[in-house]
Amino acid sequence: MILIHCPYCDEKRPEIEFANAGQAHVARPLDPSSQSDEEWEAYLFIRANPRGRHHERWRHVHGCGRFFNAVRDTVTDKFETTYKAGEPRR
């Protein structure tokens, strides 16, 4: 069972306290109605599936409840880093 560092609690906690919330840094367009079908499709459905470094959102759902971002290696399943929502991509 992986240990995940919550950047808000600043503690490593077991993964059962967390929930994955998909790819990180996919911002909702500020004005969705101005989006073309292709742009909206890309926002809604098209996701990365990298081998290696992957930017993901996690939620400390059974802890502080905060969403945060993480870089996880999809091959080794190791977390490289976690950081607060709103901070720049690492």
Partner: protein, 953 residues
Amino acid sequence: MTGYRLDNGGRIDRNRPVEFRFDGHSYQGFAGDTLASALLANGISLFGRSFKYHRPRGIMAAGSEEPNALISVDRGAGRFTPNLRATSVEIHAGLNAFSQNRWPSLKRDFGAINDRLGMFFPAGFYNKTFMWPRSFWEKLYEPAIRKMAGLGDAPTQEDPDIYASTYAHCDLLIVGAGPAGIDAALEAMGSNKRIILIDEQDELGGGALADPALWPWLERSRKALIDAPNVTILTRTTAFGYYHDNFIGAVQRLTDHSPDNSDSPREKLWRVRAGEVVLAQGAIERPLVFDGNDTPGVMLSSAAKVFGLRYGVAVGKSVALMAAHDSGWHDVFALAKAGVGIKAIIDVRTELSSALLDEASRLGINVHLNHSVTGVNGRHRVTSIQICNNDDYVGTRIDCDTLLMAGGWTPSVHLWSHSKGSLAWRDDIGAYVPDQPNENARCVGACSGGWDFGSGVIVDVLPTPKDQSRIKAFVDFQNDVTAKDIKLAVREGFRSIEHIKRYTTNGMATDQGKTSNLNGLQIASTALAKPVTDIGLTSFRPPYTPQTFGALAGHAKGALFQPTRTTNIDGWAAENGAVFELVAQWRRARYFPKMGEDMHAAVNRECVAVRSSVGIFDASTLGKIEVVGPDAAEFLNRMYTNPWKALEPGRCRYGLLLKEDGFITDDGVSARLAPDRFHLTTTTGGAARVLNMMEDYLQTEWPDLDVWLTSTTEQYAVIALQGPNARKLLEPLVEGIDLSADAFPHMAIREGTICGIPTRLFRVSFTGELGFEINVPTAYGRALWERLMAEGAKFDITPYGTEAMHVLRAEKGFIIVGQDTDGTITPFDAGLDWAVGKKKPDFVGKRSMARPDLVAPGRKQLVGLLTDDPNVVLQEGAQIVADPRQPIPMTMIGHVTSSYWSETLGRSIAFALVAGGHEMMGGTLYIPMPGKTHEAKVTGMVFYDAEGARLHV
């Protein structure tokens, strides 16, 4: 020597004889014996029948790697455990053990005919033979094969035992308490580290337990470790898996070894998080591959030493050794000194150290260098062996009752590999050893490839003059895989060890190839003429040895498998005969049958009561979220399809929630209590999902909004009073709220007290009748319910359950998200476009509602269905076709989502999702059901009081 018990030595307690049973016969051993050592001492050599060929099998090893001697232990009703290794079962008074996979008895086994037919059972036999006809597989082939080929019987009764589990944290976890593990513990003991030392055996020592010279050291070390306050010792504990971030799963066996404390937990699951892990799992001796190497009486040389020196049991009276490694020589020297008769040493090698040869000569043991065993005589026990010179195949026969094998050593890298530590091949020992760690872990002792057993050579199959295709030289003893099978797999084109393993099943038995993987690799390597490192290595996976489901499940079974959520009113419902159903994790009253009523009659009565007088319903399970903050209205405006900013405090609104993809995900009536405060309700099953979704948008998309979300589902008990007499019943009980129609209209909320209890009183209706939902602090739920029941007696108040609630809402055309929608339904598909704020620039899902697919014709749309025969209630889930005369398979254009008998209407009603349904109003559709195809007319979804006259009173 009495029988096979040596006169002296061993760690058994000769003053404590123990009576036990095996296959119905009574035997005697000593405290400290395993089932294997005690039966060997009684001269038993036959322990079981093999998996496929039903060949007689004895003991091969002395530890948990034993592949042959699988037995069942019966501890009484529900306490039957199959497939235990006789070498790991401690004997105790009353132990009742049985051999497996034999009929009618171990000695006369009908299935042994398979052995004679062996040439017809090559690798892949089942795949090749039982392909056709397909229909025979389930009824004929599989049951027959299962009966013939198998391990122990599965237990048939519920397990009455208790299983405990715990979490533990330590700085240093040591797996394996042989000399290397004990040294690691002693070394760290003086620090302030919290140390856990785990070993699968009943006492510390590992290999040292079979080395009397080490016993004084062992006793000193054991005392020191027990006295150390920072060391926790777990014996009879198997570390079965090594998971991420130094998380180790281990099962401790607490009571199986002692007869009279079955009320205590049987086993305990340890989940250990360790700072550092030291693996000291030792090494497993490798069998040699030759014709007849599975005959009872053929065993590992190291096992014979354990039986002799730890348990005081001679494995035979006339013992021969077949060696490819020095360790076997040392073993038989020690056995000879302990009084075991050693007949001969055969070694494949031509040259050995003079020290070994001199010692053999001094002990009077005949030595045959450059020789191999080519045959074993005897069926239930070795009677003699055939040996040959490796060069000219000139042979001779040696009479003996036991043959030991010393084929070299395989480091136990199982847990290391679970942790994804890398392995390196070492040619000199012909084995993989730990290389680079992936966790904070290291291997010490024999499992790192370091040992002082001397040297040896690796031989894939012993040289033989016999026709290789006619001999049975076993590689995987438990799965009956021979060297011939692996060679056949290579001939048939398998190149990777992963494929060879699956085709031959080598290494796939319950022992996971502890004694067979490396021999299999060597044989495949030779057959492919490629180095071992080029054909791969199969993965090691948990568990290291089989563990019980009971230990893994722990307390999470029966009522504790998952929590059952109950409302404050649940107890009243139970006492008043409610029939319950589970909705998500909630237990809800489905209906309240009176004497002699079935569900149909009860639901009809409950529905009529609501329509004619007043019904009472426990709606406490509704999800509730308190939305507070200056931007609360703006937030809800962005989340829901409906406009919220203009909603006045004191009023309610039906809210429809989409996901960003434009599909309905939840709905519920919500109230504005104040400009900055809303009381949201969600579906019973959707509460957590909706809160999570709202938190997601609030935290990550709109962090600038000043809004706070709090789950209040469990803070309120909710009682729905529905029916024309609801107001009359409520009026005298409520203070501070004017209940008149003008002052308190439909879809409004007021705060006041009821029977002195603070309440948020909603005037809402999921039934189409005049209705109220009374929210009170949870603890008052049942008291208020009972008061309403008492006061409502004059109106013949009727409690109703979820089933009547479903019927009543369906009569009014109200959908249930998740039953009438399936995650692909838009508001337009559901006929709920009226709930979409057309003027709003944005809300979650709005842009998607204009996606090409979501506006395309032919989408499935929700419609009403009225069967031509009003007495026919369609099956929910029944498929719908446009033309019943089309050939099969018909084109299915939709399905029935809700269907009920409506007592109020005197007929059946239904909803259905139908492709292009909105365009079919008045048309006829066909619903094939068992026995008959029914016709139904497509209608709107409101079947009762379409103008809402009953609501606005």
